[in-house]
Amino acid sequence: MRKIRDDDSIEDREVWLEMIMDEYGERLTKLAYNYVKDWKLAEDIVQDVFITSYQNHEKIDEVIFFKSWIYRLAINRSKDVLKSHAFRKVVLNSSLFSLFSSKELPPEKELLKRSEEEFLSLCVLSLPVKYREVVTLYYYEECSIEEIQELIGVNQNTIKTRLSRGRMKLKKMMERRGYNGEQA
């Protein structure tokens, strides 16, 4: 784990900011995207996260694992956005979103052109947040169940249940569209 600096000079903060931006910038943006499914929104969330980190620099030495802290922050901010009135108004109406909703998928012909990988990704993204969350954290972020618990505060059994249910849904989705799903 990176050593958090004790002294709080502006210079030190700046340097530290650059470091965390380098290390977590891309990952956090993608993490946020998994929730809000909009890159612009994801960028805004990540900006917010870094600003908060910078401002709370002196408190961060209390945090033992910075990665969990900043991930947790990013996840919570993303969920806030999802709940926000503005999000519901704008994004829900966009055609992009409807592309991802589990009810509607582009016609089969279209899908065949796209790769299986893409299809898988799209299906994952179309899962309801509860399942999407655990699936992406487990498979994309490659976190352990324990780590996921730390990040979203849900107990491990629930996480496991959600994972299996998510897998089943995905299977159904993909089978419906003509892909051979292996045993989940």
């Binding site: 502006i10 931006m21 910038g25 600003i51 790769s115 990988e117 990704s121 498979y139």
Partner: protein, 340 residues
Amino acid sequence: MESKLRELRRAMDSTTHKGEHFTEFQKMNIRKALHSDRREKPKRPHKFVMFAISTFAICLLAFFVSTEFLVRQDQGQIHGGTAGEWNIRHEYKVNQEIKFTILPDPYLKAGKPYGYIFSFQEPFNTYKGKELSISAFHKETGERIQVLPQQKIIDPSPGYSSLQRFTATFPLPYEGLWKFGVYLDGKSYGDVVVSVAEKAKDDPITLPEDIPDFVQESDFDTIDWERKAVEFGDRGIIGNENKSGVIGAGMPSLNGQKWMWHLWGVEDVDLTIVGFHKESQTVHPILTNGMGWTIRAYGPNNGADAHTPSSVKIPKKGEWAILLYVDGEFFDVLIFDIKE
């Protein structure tokens, strides 16, 4: 599924999550946002500090202003309601507390001595060992007379604990409103205002205390009111030809004027000038600038043998007899009708 999902990361990164999504541009935006934030941050404590300071300054200002008011009020009360106040008032109060009262004779008139009873209310220690004096100010003429010279207070009034019965007897030369100022060790203690009635017609003329001894009441009986001052010579002198005259008596003199006196038959003398107002039968000094009653006249000028410039103020309008004494001897009378 599982195997597919195990590749999710790779799958997503190559499809939906393809490309760079946290760019240098975004880093810049974050840095910018923080810099503007940083600039605001130092302002935040500043704002509060400024607010605190301005509130404190306003409080301080309000405090000073209020004390200023209090002081002014206080002074007002000490002076018994400012120097301009001339309402008849027989008591002197400070903050609703009566310090002393005066009981003048109900038949108080000008020209004759009357007794006044002062009742001082404060404990005797306030007055003990101090020099008490009383001065009287006449509203109409602005004249000041010391009616009671400094008197050291040693004992309380007989039969009393303090100065509850302090008597003083003195005449007042003219009728009208008079303000008595009481002084302790020369410092103003308080004042009261009394009204003095007109002098009775057949009462003798009261001479002011400080008038030179050679001025007699009988001198005023010799005044010939018909022998009015006239202009003579070529210099505009008004008076009695070849005896006495004034340049300037024709100018407005009620608010102060320069009069140049001219005498014939004398050379270097003390000239005593006494004013007598016909209607009120009262005696007044007319020289101002602390000259009192007498001024030195010498040197020929304008055809006269002796002269002197002076500043005068005629207290009230009407017919006046200006009595002139030279070296203590009655010399002449100038009759003027001063209208302005």
